[in-house]
């Protein structure tokens, strides 16, 4: 496990941008919870609440056309990478104007224009795919890199192992971001994983493994920026283990009964979003008023996206025969 902290800390504007994205995730997520709970949208919902700063501080280090591969719990990654609210909401609602025309749904959000090219629902499955994206960049020499985000539980599945080894052997420009929220569904990290941390697993592939507090915007930014620099320079892959916590259950409806109350309370007390706000205000990067204005704007945008998603039409049934193959079929 190595920790070469060479990248600079984010400047004030970058921290404010990280905060903006984190708040966007938080408000959007809260609105999803409310909307689904109220039955206005039917969708499985995997809340990223608690992991917002991690995603925001990571994604600001990427270029717009860098690739991101994320998972069912991917709302934070998607918003932080720039997936537009309206297409996202419409997709959750299964509408024709959703980013995937309502065919993929929340677990498969895809928006190539913002670099989010794959969202998967099978644990670990996105990791080998990220290699392929990075491979294309390597062949094309276009300088794009790929980042794949996954959970702690995913590091126990075969695809993780195979993909990290291949990325190392091929020196691919890829970043493996493990968002270690300490639980995989109902199973605690300690009960499912044979080693003490994820970062150390990088040694098995001869690549740098970095452990970082994912809830600390500065530390997360620097770790991500380091990995980006390595990948961009053709020095190969990095495994980042970003420690974090999820405040809601695994999926809407899960009451987190398997998490000790004190553990949850401590995590919520250390909520990274308000912590980042305090940090920004204390450092004088932005005033409370300016941050409030950002938040107001977000609240309005989310409300607009929600209204849009509800109002939009469902796809035409003829859509069923489209996109199965490159030509329309009679299904």
């Amino acid at each position: 496990m190595t920790s070469p902290r060479t990248s600079n800390a984010p400047d004030g504007d970058t921290l404010v941008e990280i905060y903006r994205r984190a708040q966007l995730i938080r408000h959007c997520g809260e609105q999803f919870l409310k909307t689904i709970r109220a039955g206005r949208i039917q969708a499985p919902y995997y809340s990223p609440r608690g992991q917002e700063v991690l995603a925001a501080a990571t994604m600001v280090t990427l270029a717009a056309d860098d690739y991101v591969v994320t998972i069912y719990r991917g709302l934070h990654d998607q918003l932080a990478k720039g997936v537009p609210l309206k297409e996202l909401w419409a997709e959750y609602a299964g509408k024709a104007s959703g980013s995937c025309k309502g065919k993929g749904g929340p677990m498969h959000i895809t928006h190539p224009a913002s670099g989010v090219v794959v969202t998967t629902g099978v644990v670990g499955s996105g990791i080998p795919i990220a290699n392929g994206l990075a491979l294309a960049s390597q062949v094309n020499g276009d300088g794009k890199i790929a980042l794949t985000s996954f959970g702690d539980g995913a590091t126990n599945i075969g695809a993780f192992h195979e993909a990290l080894n291949l990325a190392s052997v091929w020196k691919l420009p890829v970043i493996f971001l493990c968002q270690n929220n300490l639980y995989a569904e109902h199973t605690s990290f300690a009960n499912g994983t044979g080693c003490e941390n994820i970062a150390m697993r990088a040694a098995s592939y001869g690549m740098p493994g970095v452990q970082v507090n994912g809830n600390d915007a500065v530390a997360m930014y620097r770790a991500a920026a380091d990995a980006v620099a390595r990948a961009r320079a053709g020095e190969g892959p990095t495994l980042i283990e970003a420690r974090t916590f999820r405040f809601e259950g695994h999926i809407l409806g899960d009451d987190s009964h398997y998490i000790p109350k004190e553990e949850m309370a401590a995590a919520i007390a250390a909520d990274p979003v308000p912590a980042l706000r305090r940090q920004i205000v204390a450092a004088g990067y932005a005033t409370d008023e300016a941050l409030d204005a950002i938040e107001d704007r977000i609240v309005a945008d989310v409300a607009e996206a929600l209204a849009y998603a509800i109002a939009e039409p469902y796809p035409d049934v003829a859509e069923l025969g489209r996109d199965v193959l490159d030509v329309e079929i009679v299904p």
């Binding site: 039917q42 309502g102 599945i157 499912g192 859509e319």
Partner: protein, 340 residues
């Protein structure tokens, strides 16, 4: 061997109504109580993790101990491999793979090992394991969480494949699957898991490989398994009002399927409709229809119709999901087309 005509409701007049998870739990509990070699493992299924995300193993690790009931990491190959090894060593493991699409990460253990070990060892080893898995369209879970893939496994010699259509059968067939000396893939329905149905009586066991004549009739045979059986029964009831007599054959076991029961029924009615939840193309319906067509050539009064879901990935949007899935009206239309 002919089909067994069996009431799916238990003996007492007002059966207890239970969720699907309880139907599974009843069988798991009974099998574990009866045979100390029955082991359970899979993700989140011990009580420390809540006894299964659906609660289908609630209480079992407490009752039978942490040695016999274990939560696992997210490692389906390791889960299935452990089941294969334990089975070879004389255990009756029940491995839970949360959703059927996740079988795609552990096919090697199922197909190259569990199914073949008895044969490849010349009968020296056997592999009496049960794989419980869940799937089905209608829950809005989309392409990677809803596929019915039983046709794959039916095509693998050495495996048995069971798909129950109701809660009581679920219990009876699961218990039997665990006690069967062959590897059995047991496919449960996500939506039935969340729905209530009549419980099986205590100790209920149903033989594998035997179909159930769920309704007798004389004009047309509807043959299938799993959830669509209930739709077939509903349509049969509806059509009986029009004087059409529909026989409904619930295969219960997809592989090996009860050919005799099916042929007996179709020989009688002269008309057949096959129905399953899986995508129609290259689904199990093809085998059944081809067999009927071959064995009863010249005796059929109408073409054999097949009903299944459409030939696309499972979409999420409710309108598309509905258009994708087989439906009661598909079954009705297929039946009517055989009567013209």
């Amino acid at each position: 061997m002919t089909a067994t005509l069996e009431a799916t409701a238990p003996a007492d007049t007002k059966p207890r109504m239970i969720f699907g998870a309880e139907a599974a739990l009843q069988a798991l509990d009974a099998a574990m109580g009866e045979d100390p070699t029955v082991l359970l493992f899979g993700e989140d299924l011990a009580d420390r993790e809540g006894g299964g995300v659906m609660g289908a193993s609630k209480g079992l690790s407490t009752k039978y101990g942490d040695l016999r009931v274990r939560s696992t990491p997210i490692s389906e190959q390791a889960i299935m491999g452990a089941a294969v090894g334990a089975a070879i060593a004389g255990m009756r493991p029940v491995a839970e793979i949360m959703l059927m699409n996740f079988l795609t990460v552990c096919m090697d253990q199922i197909v190259n090992h569990a199914a073949k070990i008895r044969f490849m060892s010349g009968g020296q080893t056997s592999c009496p394991l049960t794989i419980r898995t869940m799937t089905g369209v209608g829950a809005g879970l989309g392409g990677q969480h809803s596929d019915m893939l039983e046709a794959w496994f039916a095509h693998v010699p050495g495996l048995k494949v069971v798909v129950p259509s109701n809660h009581a059968d679920w219990t009876g067939l699961l218990h039997e699957s665990i006690m069967d000396d062959n590897p059995v893939l047991f496919v449960e329905s996500t939506l039935m898991m969340r729905a209530k149905g009549a419980a099986a009586p205590i100790g209920h066991r149903l033989p594998l490989g035997k179909a159930n004549v769920a309704r007798t009739g004389s004009d047309v045979s509807v043959i299938g398994y799993g959830r669509p059986i209930n739709d077939a029964l509903a349509i049969a009831e509806k059509l009986s009002g029009e004087g059409v007599s529909v026989e409904v054959i619930d295969l219960r076991t997809v592989a090996p399927w009860d050919k005799e029961a099916v042929l007996t029924s179709v020989a009688k009615t002269g008309r057949a409709v096959i129905v399953h939840e899986a995508v129609r193309n290259f689904g199990c319906g093809g085998e059944i229809a081809a067999t009927i067509g071959e064995e009863l050539f010249g005796q059929l009064k109408a073409p054999i119709r097949r009903v299944g879901s459409r030939n696309t990935p499972v979409p999420v949007s409710p309108v598309l999901e509905k258009a994708f899935a087989w439906s009661q009206s598909d079954i009705e239309a297929a039946i009517r087309s055989t009567l013209n």
